[in-house]
């Protein structure tokens, strides 16, 4: 019987640093691209003067898009960074103690309270007492709104790293920091990227909810109200429709990227197993 070759051997080489660098590149690129595209589309649709005007005096779907881009640029990195630290506290057994208990308790409490309630409370508190700008208050509201979800999902991503691997790293004298960057993050890099993209999509969508609150305080109208309000105005309808489409496309792109990163994480985990 002759030798039968089926397919070509799949190379098994991988380096954790390569995976980490690739995932981080995707993360940075995705966030940057989303913010850039959103701002660019808003600029093209409105022109610089109108863009500046809608930020100063929020009005219509165009302003919702512009505010979404700016709020996302502020809220996403902050939420991600805080959520990352909190998730490490919640999952790293070597930290333990008060920090771990505090994060876990907070997560459990946050489940019972609708995040939008906290977000609205934060928004009005900031506007009323700190006299912050609408964008700043909206960004802070979004951060508070999304932090529990981001922390929980990142903690879930990190908990995919086997406990025995953490113990093995600790037994080799790895500190919490070196174990995180040398083991936990490389192994969960795609899952973290997926969380980030899902978070970005969710935030883009939720800026509309925040805009509803802004409109209640006399600022911008919510996206849905803006569409209704401007639907009869033919000259503005095309711009509004285009803005809405971009918003929907951005959310869809975030979701698609998140799903792709989740698939990559599963593939990577399967390869390592």
């Amino acid at each position: 019987m002759g030798l039968v070759t089926v397919g070509t051997p799949k190379p098994d080489t991988f380096r954790s640093r390569d995976v980490l660098v690739t995932a981080l590149s995707y993360i940075a690129g995705t966030v940057g691209a989303m913010a850039f595209v959103a701002v660019l589309v808003a600029l093209v649709a409105l022109g610089w003067q109108d863009f500046a005007r809608v930020l100063a005096v929020p009005q219509g779907a165009g302003s919702a898009l512009a505010i979404s881009a700016l709020v996302l640029a502020i809220a996403l990195p902050v939420t991600f960074a805080i959520g990352l630290c909190a998730a490490v506290c919640a999952t790293d057994p070597s930290i333990g103690g008060v920090a771990t208990r505090a994060v876990r308790e907070s997560l459990e409490w946050s489940v019972g309270i609708p995040p939008v309630v906290i977000g609205v409370a934060v928004f009005f508190t900031v506007v009323a007492f700190v006299h912050s700008s609408v964008v700043g208050a909206a960004a802070l509201a979004l951060i508070v709104l999304n932090l529990p979800n981001a922390t929980a999902r990142l903690a879930q991503a990190f908990s995919g790293v086997p406990e025995v691997a953490r113990e093995a790293a600790a037994a080799l004298g790895a500190s919490s920091v070196s174990a995180f960057f040398g083991l936990t993050l490389p192994q969960s890099a795609w899952a973290v990227a997926a969380v980030l993209c899902a978070l970005a999509g969710q935030m883009v969508g939720e800026t509309s909810a925040v805009a509803l609150v802004v409109s209640a305080s006399g600022g911008a109208q919510p996206l849905s109200a803006a569409i209704w309000h401007f639907a009869s105005n033919v000259s503005l309808a095309a711009t509004e429709a285009a803005s809405c489409l971009v918003l929907v496309l951005v959310v869809a792109a975030c979701t698609a990227l998140s799903k792709d990163f989740s698939r990559r994480q599963l593939e990577t985990s399967a390869t390592k197993t």
């Binding site: 057994p93 691997a165 080799l172 390869t271």
Partner: protein
Amino acid sequence: MSTQGGPTVETKLEASQLHVWFGDKHALRSVNISVVAGRTVAFIGASKSGKTTLLRSFNRLHDLNPRARLHGSVKIDGAEILGRGVDVAALRRRVGMIFSTPTVLPTSIFDNVAFGLRAKGLRDRILLEEKVERSLRRVLLWDAVSALLDRAPSDLTIEQLQRLCLARAMALDPEVLLFDDPTATLDPVAGLAFEEVLIPLRRDHTVLIATNNLEQAARLSDTTCYLASGEVIESGETPLVFSRPTDTRTEDFLAGRSP
């Protein structure tokens, strides 16, 4: 070695009045042992008798378990290691540990062996390569993996994976090696092959091995210590413990009789 008396001049490890709790469970009860440098000690006993708990006390791996509480004293070279001011990372580099299942890290073979060195702060690639090669040679794995260093260790056999874990610990030049039932997942032939690697390492290290394999304990150890329900029941020179145990509970365990 003295296992129930006071420390000797050559004492490497010493535990005095050591108690360990996991929540309400009292896992170790007033354990007193001392281990002379360069000796190999086997801990035998039924499951949940406290063998692994005792081993983990020597490298403070219980720190990872928020439910664990330790009381008493554990010393290495006469220095207390349970205190707050102890550099736990440095301690764990001095006291290497090999687990019952091969716990390879999800990275390449080279990065597995270099992990502890990098965590220690070593960045020089040439030095890393030298140390990785030396470690893999010491566990007789170099010839098998020298061409596969950048690959995941998934193609290695379980016995080779366990040797890789040993190489990873050896890369840090530990003074003490803790083996937590290292051949539990290996078939008898692979288990004996792993023991062949372990035998020469005993000359340069103080070795503590927790095992459920009585023949392995008899083959490898100078001293055997029998634990039951978290207590040290009997300890002494291995031939004596196996041939003339002084406690009936030890005798029953060695004979396979239920207590």
